[in-house]
């Protein structure tokens, strides 16, 4: 396998496209959702052509999210299975935040934080989807009781806030840990990045190359 | 109505029986709620169903359909045997003290003089004993066993509370409570009003149902007083007007009657109509009959009506029998009628026994329907599947369907139940080529006149001589016709007492019927309407709603017949001295010179109380009749007869079940059902969301009540395994209706003569035209039998069976 000197392939084109579409949808959902959530953000409906279109589009974005996220999920779920190292890593979260990588165990393809983001995204999207169905008056209004809809509304709001939080963590981590974004833009990371953050993965990749 | 809508607020007790005002007359029922709130009135409702009226009541009791006279007879018995009557009133203002002929009697359900073959009575014995002076003998002590009061007391002694309950199914305790409340209004300052409608009339003894309550009201002194009266809640907007104007087989406008065959000349005709007073000093207003009749003939035949030809008397058709609708459709069914006109009427759905009506219409040569809407009658030949299963190819009738305007597009007057003539104005352009009925009748008449003038034919004179005094003969205005109805002077009309005084100059509109003359110098289309369009203009168009006395009479709003009088017989609201019995709700009183008050006196205004004239001036007695002499075909006192289809035998007289003189044709008698086959009592009625067969054309009303249904009680539903919303079939001996079942607590089984009787309620509104869903129509079930006196069909009590429909049918 030929590769540019000193870099490693991390994401295929398909995975990257999938990710970015998913990301875009999530952002649209967040913006349209926030517009409908808080009056001070209602102006965001302008991005979607007004309140009515925002209301129409938001649930369809949700459907799109489920589809695109399913792609990501089936690509990545097996890399996100929790192991003992993850617990150790998480126990040393202070070292993580302080960037004292020397105190952390060697990490495989994903560290515990990334795995947490993955699973939180997964569960929150599921929760948002299901609670969102109860709120989709146009298509499904007659299938739910008002009581169910009220629970749905609260759950949807809380889950939405949570997922935005997770998303902020995700974004910030990519921003803070330099060299990360190229994985999703170019599909490759430098060896140094891999050595520093995913040493175990680097070793596995090196072993593969050797063979 | 003897009184008027808003006057109901003056009542202390309202009895709704034989009607359902809350549903059929909601805006009139308002005055019941006003009476309840402001006058602390109580409301009693007696009805087979727990209606919306019942929902508003203080006391509700169920009754088996067709047993009202038993109930009312029981009330009479209670009042008389407990001495709860308004004695002064009964003695002076009714015929209670009058002595009845010794030959009169009642036995085993029959009054004297019955002829079983003719199904009719010889009514000669039902009359008063006259003295040598030509006046009726009286016993003011009311003790003579032959006086009306004692005869009545004896007649109703059989109607004990237990007997009432046995016949009607009404619980004894509730019946007694109702009697107690009713009896309280015997006090001179208390009034009870009776509100009834087709729940009383649509029986084979409908007139006697009403007589029953009239007797109660007379015993209580509740006729002629504010908040009292017998208030017939007429069904249609102008059925009062059409009746007043005599659009019936035997009538001439103003309740004059068409001559009979035997009345070959004018003097003979008049000899039985100018009633001589039966007591000294009485007004007997019908003595003026010739004035009304001649004025009518003058308005019919104009200048062609002269003294020499008895004002065209010969041109009037003479009657052998009354050709009411039941007889009309019977004759049609026999093929004896070739042509028929329906002017805004839907007989295919309105008359009993749909199958017979359908066959009758199909035997016509031509049918002309004038209507704003596409009626079922006009389309009786169309096939609408189960809803009108007809083969058009087999129907040889030519049918014309002529579009007419509706209320919004025409001006004119309507007479409401309270006898108010209210003018209305057109506000819209008619749709398409729709024309007013006046225009259509004019074109028909003008064409016929043209044909008779050109070609001759049978008796052309009345056609050619018909008065047609309209400025544009091809298009008379309603304004002109209204003036014609009121009448005008053809020569100067002078005061009879002071001939120097001219009351109306030739050509002027008359002020009222007092100015009519029998010498041909006046015209008036309808004497009781005289005063509606006077020299002062169109009185019906008046719109001053001031009601200074707060009496509810609104004397300057529109115009009320007769003479703008709002409460009939109002002289009876005062005692013999002319003082109001109830000063709080005084209508008129004698002020020493004349009668005056918030209403127009129903009395000769200057006739002092001492003169002794009675308050019921139209009656030769001057008093009201507890005993009606020979005027009712089926007896001088109401008697309980069973409906022609009854679930039990007549426990009072098993040999005489139904009304022995009711209108029944051969062929119809045979199709009455028997209780072994048809065990349930059915009754038909209107729903508040609909008006007969019109409002199913109005989308809003179709939304509010979209589909035909039948109401049954929970007990019957349980027996049949029917849940609400299931489809059921209702069968009578004449047909079947299939509809949705509405299972309700509002209809409960009754115990009648020891038997459990279930009632089935059948709303009438469905057909196969309009916005609402198609339905079968209640008249597939109803029996072809009519009241003895006025031939109203017995829609309110007949027998049916009920079956559950297994699978849904479209």
């Amino acid at each position: 396998m030929k590769q540019p000197s000193g870099t490693l392939a991390r994401y295929t084109v398909g995975a990257r496209v999938n990710h970015w579409v998913n990301g875009l949808v999530l952002v649209l959902l967040a913006l349209s959702g926030l517009a409908l959530f808080h009056p001070s953000l209602f102006f965001l409906t302008g991005l979607f052509g007004g309140g009515i279109l925002t209301r129409v589009l938001h649930p369809w974005f949700g459907v799109a999210l489920i589809v695109t996220f399913a792609g990501l999920f089936f690509r990545f779920w097996r890399y996100n299975i929790w192991d003992r190292t993850d617990t150790q890593w998480l126990n040393r979260i202070r070292d993580v935040l302080a960037a004292r990588d020397e105190n952390l165990p060697e990490v495989g393809r994903y560290n515990a934080g990334q795995k947490l983001v993955f699973w939180l995204m997964t569960w929150l999207i599921l929760i948002l989807f299901v609670s969102g169905l109860t709120l989709w008056e146009e298509q499904l209004g007659s299938y739910f009781t008002i009581g169910q809809k009220r629970v749905g509304a609260v759950v949807h709001a809380l889950a939405a806030v949570s997922i935005i939080g997770v998303w902020i963590v995700h974004m910030y981590a990519a921003f803070w840990v330099k060299g990360t974004t190229s994985a999703m833009t170019k599909g490759r990371v430098t060896g140094g990045w891999a050595w520093k953050h995913h040493r175990k993965w680097l070793r596995e990749e090196a072993a593969k190359v050797q063979r | 109505m003897t009184n008027t809508w808003a006057d109901i607020k003056n009542a202390d007790l309202v009895v709704i029986m034989g009607g359902n005002a809350a549903e059929a007359h909601p805006c009139g029922f308002k005055w019941v709620t006003e009476a309840k709130h402001y006058n602390k009135a109580k409301l009693i409702v007696v009805d087979p169903r727990f209606t919306r009226s019942a929902a508003m009541s203080d006391l509700y009791m169920p009754i088996r359909p067709g047993s009202d006279i038993a109930f009312l007879g029981g009330v009479i018995n209670y009042l008389v045997s407990n001495d709860k009557i308004h004695k002064d009133y009964v003695l002076n203002y009714t015929n209670a003290a009058y002595i009845v002929k010794a030959e009169y009697g009642f036995e085993d359900g029959l009054f004297t003089g019955y002829n079983a073959e003719k199904r009719d009575y010889d009514r000669k014995s039902w009359d008063y004993e006259l003295g040598e002076d030509g006046f009726v003998k009286v016993d003011p002590s009311l003790q003579d066993p032959r006086c009306v009061y004692q005869l009545m007391k004896a007649h109703y002694a059989r109607y004990t509370p237990e007997m009432v309950s046995r016949i009607t199914g009404t619980p004894v305790d509730k019946f007694t409570k109702a009697c107690e409340w009713i009896a309280e209004t015997a006090a001179p300052d208390k009034a009870m009003t009776s509100m009834y409608a087709l729940g009383w009339t649509q029986h084979s003894k409908g007139s006697q149902n009403i007589r029953g309550m009239a007797i109660v009201q007379l015993l209580l002194g509740n006729i002629g007083v504010a908040g009292g009266g017998m208030n017939a809640l007429r069904g249609h907007s102008n059925i009062q007007g059409l009746t007043d104007l005599g659009l019936m087989s035997n009538l001439i406008p103003g309740y004059l009657t068409l001559p009979l065959d035997k009345e070959q000349d004018y003097p003979t005709y008049m000899s039985t109509r100018q009633f001589k007073p039966l007591r000294p000093g009485q007004t007997s207003y019908w003595q003026n009959y010739p004035k009304f009749f001649v004025s009518f003939l003058k308005s019919m035949y104009g200048t062609a009506a002269t003294k020499d030809n008895a004002f065209g008397y010969d041109w009037l058709p003479k009657l052998d029998v009354t050709y009411d609708v039941l007889r009309a459709f019977e004759l049609m069914h026999q093929g004896k009628i070739n042509g028929y006109f329906c002017q805004g009427f839907n007989p295919l759905l309105s008359f009993p026994n749909r199958g017979k009506i359908q066959a009758a219409l199909a035997s016509l040569k031509y049918l002309v329907v004038m209507d704003p809407l596409a009626t079922e009658t006009a389309s009786f030949w169309e096939n609408h599947g189960v809803h009108n299963d007809v083969d058009p190819g087999q129907v040889q009738t030519e049918v014309f369907r002529l579009p007419t305007t509706c209320f919004a597009e025409e001006a004119g007057s309507l007479t409401n139940s309270g006898r108010w003539l209210q003018w209305h104005w057109a506000g819209a352009t008619p749709p398409g080529e729709a024309k007013t009925d006046v225009w259509i009748m004019t074109q028909l008449y003008r064409k016929l006149r043209e044909l008779y003038a050109a070609e001759g034919g049978k008796l052309p004179e009345p056609i050619l001589n018909l008065s047609w005094p309209y400025s544009t003969p091809d298009d008379p205005t309603t304004d002109e016709i209204a003036q014609e109805i009121n009448g005008k002077a053809l020569a100067d009309v002078r005061d009879l007492k002071d001939p120097a005084k001219i009351l109306a100059r030739a050509g002027q509109q008359l002020d009222g019927f007092a100015q009519l003359r029998d010498d041909g110098s006046t015209t008036s289309g309808c004497w009781i309407y005289s005063g509606c369009y006077t020299k002062k203009g169109n009185q019906m168009a008046r719109r001053d709603n001031a009601d200074p006395s707060d009496s509810g009479l609104a004397p300057n709003w529109a115009w009320s017949w007769p003479a703008n009088r709002r409460v009939l017989y109002n002289r009876a609201s005062c005692d013999l001295e002319g003082k109001p019995y109830n000063p709080k709700h005084a209508l008129i009183e004698w002020n020493g010179e004349k009668w005056a008050g918030v209403d127009i006196p129903d009395f000769v205004a200057t006739s002092a109380p001492e003169a002794g004239a009675g308050p019921f001036i139209m009656n030769a007695e001057g008093t009201a009749r507890l005993f009606t002499r020979g005027m009712m075909k089926d007896g001088p006192f109401p008697e309980h007869y069973e409906p022609f289809e009854a679930p039990v035998e007549n426990v009072l007289h098993p040999k005489v079940g139904p009304n022995p003189v009711a209108r029944v044709f051969k062929g119809d008698l045979e199709v009455f059902g028997k209780p072994d086959e048809f065990p349930y009592v059915a009754t038909t009625y209107r729903l508040t969301e609909h008006f007969h067969f019109w409002t199913k054309h109005a989308l809003i009303n179709a939304i509010l009540q979209p589909e035909e249904f039948v109401e049954i009680g929970e007990a019957l539903a349980a027996e049949k395994g029917v849940k609400t919303g299931d489809r059921i079939q209702v069968h009578s001996n004449r047909g079947t209706v299939e509809a949705v079942a509405v299972v309700t607590k509002r209809i409960r089984p009754l115990t009648v003569d020891g038997k459990t009787i279930h009632t089935v309620g059948i709303p009438i509104h469905w057909g196969f035209k309009g916005e609402a869903r198609k339905g079968y129509g209640a008249n597939r079930l109803t029996p072809y039998v009519g009241d003895a006196n006025i031939e109203t069909p017995e829609f309110k009590a007949f027998l049916v069976d009920v079956t559950k429909v297994a699978a849904a049918v479209s």
């Binding site: 309140g51 008002i146 891999a194 990749e205 090196a206 | 709620t33």
Partner: protein
């Protein structure tokens, strides 16, 4: 009357804060006196006619209610309950259902679209269709289950209390039509006073529990009922005994909103603080060197 001239000035508007204070107006109310109501549906008819709404012609399902429920066109509906009393006597309790015009309207609270739901200073709560986005949040906010979403135009509708008529000094179409004056309209004070007279009459007739339904849980309502059995409003086709805006809706539209935004803001802030304090997490040249070695010799 000058104070009344501002009757249809806005008091509250959905998803809008900091409104200019409106002129004072006298609170109005519609009083539905069930003891005088004959259930004739004149109000339903007048409502359809005045508001130019119509329905598909339905079916009979075995009950008098038609249509079978409130809809985007049927803003008021007669509901019928046959209730047997202890003595076996029947009562037919007929209730005109429709918007109660709560003083504290749950629909308005829930609505995210500015100006789609407004409350006028006289108390009427009105849906302004051109601002409605059809989200249906009002449906969840309403404690009485009143608003209905139109499948035709995806906007929510309910009784406006005929704000167009009230604006020109007329009463609502239903009150105008009501044959027995069971529906009255006037100032809330007058209506309360009149209700008192009616309750007195009912008590005289033996209805000891007669009373006024003006539920405090929603701040009182501008549509009130006179009930013969005010102690059991639920027998009137499930009229809620103590209606309140659902705690879930309070949670959703109450604390959740500021806390959520604060939470999101806080997350972002923490990121910034962390970044400022910790600086970028950069890959050092020695890491690259280590990686190169590893890739060349994975066993090392």
């Amino acid at each position: 009357m000058s104070v009344l001239q501002h009757a249809l000035d806005l008091k509250q508007s959905s998803a809008t804060s900091g409104m200019a204070p409106a002129g004072e107006a006298v609170a109005v109310a519609k009083l539905i006196d069930i003891s005088r109501c004959i259930g004739c549906k004149a109000c339903q008819s007048a409502c359809l006619e005045w508001n130019e709404r119509r329905e598909e012609v339905g079916v009979n399902t075995g009950y008098y209610e038609n249509p079978h429920d409130l809809t985007e066109n049927t803003w008021t509906l007669m509901r019928y309950a046959e209730v047997e009393q202890d003595n076996g006597d029947l009562e037919w309790l007929i209730r005109k259902d429709g918007c109660m015009h709560c003083a504290d309207p749950g629909c308005l609270k829930a609505c995210p679209a500015p100006g789609a739901i407004v409350q006028y200073t006289n108390g009427l709560v009105d849906f302004i269709s051109e601002n409605c986005i059809g989200c249906g949040y009002c449906i969840k906010g309403c404690p009485f289950d009143i608003p209905r979403l139109s499948q035709a135009d995806q906007k929510v509708y309910k009784c406006t209390l005929c704000s167009d008529r009230v604006a020109v000094g007329q009463g609502p179409a239903c009150a105008k039509a009501c044959p027995t004056h069971a529906i009255m309209f006037g100032t809330k004070a007058e209506m309360t006073d009149w209700a008192g007279q009616r309750i007195e009459d009912l008590k005289e007739r033996g209805y000891q529990n007669a009373g006024l339904y003006d539920p405090p849980g929603v701040g009182g309502t501008h549509v009130m009922y006179v009930l013969k059995h005010a102690d059991q409003p639920e027998i009137y086709s499930n009229l809620p005994k103590d209606p309140q805006i659902s705690p879930l809706v309070d949670l959703w539209k109450g604390v959740t909103k500021p806390f959520a935004l604060a939470g999101i803001g806080l997350m972002a802030l923490l990121g910034i603080v962390h970044y400022v304090r910790t600086g970028p997490n950069e890959v050092a040249p020695e890491d690259e060197e280590q990686a190169r070695r590893t890739l060349e010799n994975p066993k090392s």
